[in-house]
C-alpha cells in the first residue's frame, strides 16, 4: 500500500499518547519545580551563610554545580516518567491495544524513545538553563562569585546537565521495558543511582578507583565538572559512556519486548 504508515506515524501516535494524559504534565511540572525551585532555595541559603564560610570553603565554591544541585532530585523524576511511559501501559493492559496497532515492536520502542528524547531534551535544557541563570543572579545580588554562559566550560556544563537528565529518562524507559512493572523498575533505578554508590563506598579504595567512575551518578558529575580529576572521566568520555549505557539498556528492553508475549 502506498500510504503505509512509517516510523513518523508511529512517533506521532506515541507523542499524541504522551501529551493526552495528565500524568505527563504533573511529571514535567515536578521536573521544573525540583530543578528551578531547589536552585533558588540552595543558592539563597549559600548567599545567606556566605560570610560564615572559611576561606578554604569560599575558594572551593562551585557556582555552577550549586545552582544545578536540583538535578540530583530531578533525575528521579525523569527516570520515573521514562519508566511509566511503558510500565503504565502494562499496568492498564493498554500495551495490548498498542501492539495491535503497531505489531512491529522495534518500531514501537524507537517511536517511544524518540518522543522521550525530544521532549525531555527540550524541557531539561530549558529547566537547567533557567535554574543556572536564576542561581547566578541570586549569587550576583549577594556579591558572591558568579559565572556566565559566555565562559564556554560553564556553557558546556549547563548543556551537559540537560543531556544527563535526558539520558536518565531513557535509562528509566529501558528498565521499564525490561521489568514491566512501575514499582520494580523504580526500585532498580533507585538502586543503580543511590544504593550501588553507597555499596561501592565500602569496597577497598583500590577497587573504588576503578569502579566509582563508571557509575551513572559519577558519570553525571564528570559531565558537569569543569576541572577533570584524575579519578574520573573527562566530560566527553563520561557523556559517551552514559549514552552507551542508555543505548544498551533500551536495546535490551527492545529485545525483551520482541521476545516475550504481551
Amino acid at each position: 500500500m502506498s500510504d503505509s504508515p512509517t516510523l513518523v506515524d508511529t512517533t506521532r501516535s506515541e507523542m499524541l499518547k504522551f501529551r493526552t494524559v495528565r500524568a505527563t504534565f504533573i511529571g514535567l511540572a515536578t521536573l521544573v519545580v525540583l530543578t528551578i525551585g531547589l536552585a533558588v532555595l540552595i543558592t539563597i541559603v549559600i548567599r545567606t551563610n556566605w560570610n560564615q564560610r572559611s576561606l578554604a570553603d569560599k575558594l572551593a565554591f562551585d557556582p555552577v554545580a550549586t545552582s544545578l544541585a536540583g538535578i540530583f532530585f530531578a533525575q528521579f523524576a525523569v527516570g520515573v516518567m521514562g519508566a511509566r511511559f511503558i510500565t503504565a501501559e502494562y499496568a492498564s493492559g493498554a500495551i495490548r491495544t498498542t501492539l495491535t496497532a503497531v505489531p512491529r515492536r522495534v518500531h514501537l520502542v524507537l517511536a517511544k524513545a524518540i518522543v522521550l528524547l525530544v521532549t525531555f531534551f527540550v524541557v531539561s535544557e530549558a529547566v537547567v538553563f533557567a535554574a543556572f541563570i536564576t542561581g547566578q543572579s541570586i549569587y550576583r545580588s549577594g556579591h558572591l562569585p558568579s559565572v556566565s554562559l559566555a565562559d564556554s566550560t560553564v556553557l558546556r556544563a549547563v548543556i551537559m546537565a540537560g543531556i544527563y537528565l535526558t539520558l536518565l529518562t531513557l535509562i528509566g524507559f529501558g528498565l521499564g521495558l525490561i521489568l514491566r512493572t512501575t514499582s520494580v523498575t523504580i526500585s532498580v533505578y533507585v538502586t543503580i543511582l543511590l544504593i550501588i554508590p553507597i555499596i561501592v563506598n565500602f569496597l577497598p579504595s583500590s577497587w573504588q578507583d576503578h569502579i566509582t567512575k563508571y557509575l551513572p551518578s559519577n558519570l553525571g558529575e564528570s559531565m558537569l565538572s569543569q576541572t577533570p580529576s584524575v579519578r574520573s572521566f573527562a566530560w566527553g568520555t563520561a557523556a559517551l559512556l552514559l549514552a552507551i549505557y542508555c543505548a544498551v539498556i533500551v536495546a535490551v528492553g527492545a529485545v525483551t519486548l520482541v521476545r516475550r508475549d504481551a
Binding site: M1, D3, S4, P5, D9, T10, R12, S13, E14, L16, K17, T20, V21, R22, A23, A88, E89, S92, G93, A94, I95, R96, T97, L99, T100, A101, V102, P103, R104, D261, A262
Partner: protein, 305 residues
Amino acid sequence: MLKIDHLSKRYGETMAVDDLDFEVTPGVVTGFLGPNGSGKSTTMRVIIGLDRPTHGRATINGKTYDEFKAPLREVGALLDAKALDPSRSARNHLRALATANRIPIKRVDEVLEFVGVASVAHKKVGGFSLGMSQRLGIASALLGDPGILLFDEPVNGLDPEGIRWIRDFFRSLAKEGRTVFVSSHLMSEMAVSADQIIVIGRGKFITSGTVAELTANATGTVYVRCADATRLGEVLGALEGVCEPANEQGLNVSGLSSDQVGEAALSAGIAIYELTPQRASLEDVFMSLTADSLEYGHHDAGVAP
C-alpha cells in the same frame, strides 16, 4: 481469509492450544465455542500477534499479523475492552490508533458516532462502564474498516438491548462480505448468533459445522408417558435403552428411537398416553462434546475444602 495452520501454544507445562487447524471463511458469522480455559483467547491473541505460537501459525490473507504495516486496516479485534489507559479520553485513544495506522481522523468521529459513544468521547475511559468500554472496543475494531473482525466474548457486560444490537451488527458485517470470528463459552449465544461453529476443548479441535449439522448428529431422547412406567422401563432396558424416570408415569429414554419405544410398548401390552422425541439442543451437544475436556470439573456443592 483467516487461516489457523496447525497452531499450538504452550505456556510452561500447559498446552493452551494444541494443533488447531481450521479456516474461517468470509461472509458468515463463525462462532468459536469452548468452555472457559479451552484456548479461545489464546488463539485470538496469536492471530493478532500478541503471543508467539509454539508451533504453526495464524495467517490473514496469507500473512502473519506482524507482517502488516497498517494491521488495523486488515483486522479489527476486540479482545479485552478494558485494556486501555484509563486516564485518556475515548477520542484521544482512537486518535492515537488512527495515527499509527494512517487512518483519517474523521473516521474516529464516524466510529464513535456509530457505536453511540460520541457524547462521552471527551471523557476519560477509566470512568466507562464495561458496556461502554465494549462499545469503544467495537469502535476501535471498526476504525480501519477491516475485512476480518475478531471478537472475544463480546456479549459480556452488554445489556439485553446491547446483545441484540451486537448480533444484528455481526450479521450485517458478515453480509458485507467480511470475516466475522466470535468466541463465546455460551452455546445458547452461539446458537442464535453464529452461522458456522467451531468447537474446541482443552486447546484441541472437537468439531465444526452449522448449528443444524451439530445437532443433527446427536441422538436425542424420547419422552414416553404410559400406563406402567416401571414395567416399560424393564422392557426397554432389555433393548439396551437407558431410562430415567421423568415423572410418575413418564420416562426419558435415550439410545432408542420413538418408533422402537412405541413398538416395544405395543408388544408388551402397555398403553401409551404420550410419545415425544426430544431433539438435542446445541447446548446438549456442547455439553457432551466437551464433557471430557472441562478445565475444572464440577464438585458436589456444599463440601467446603
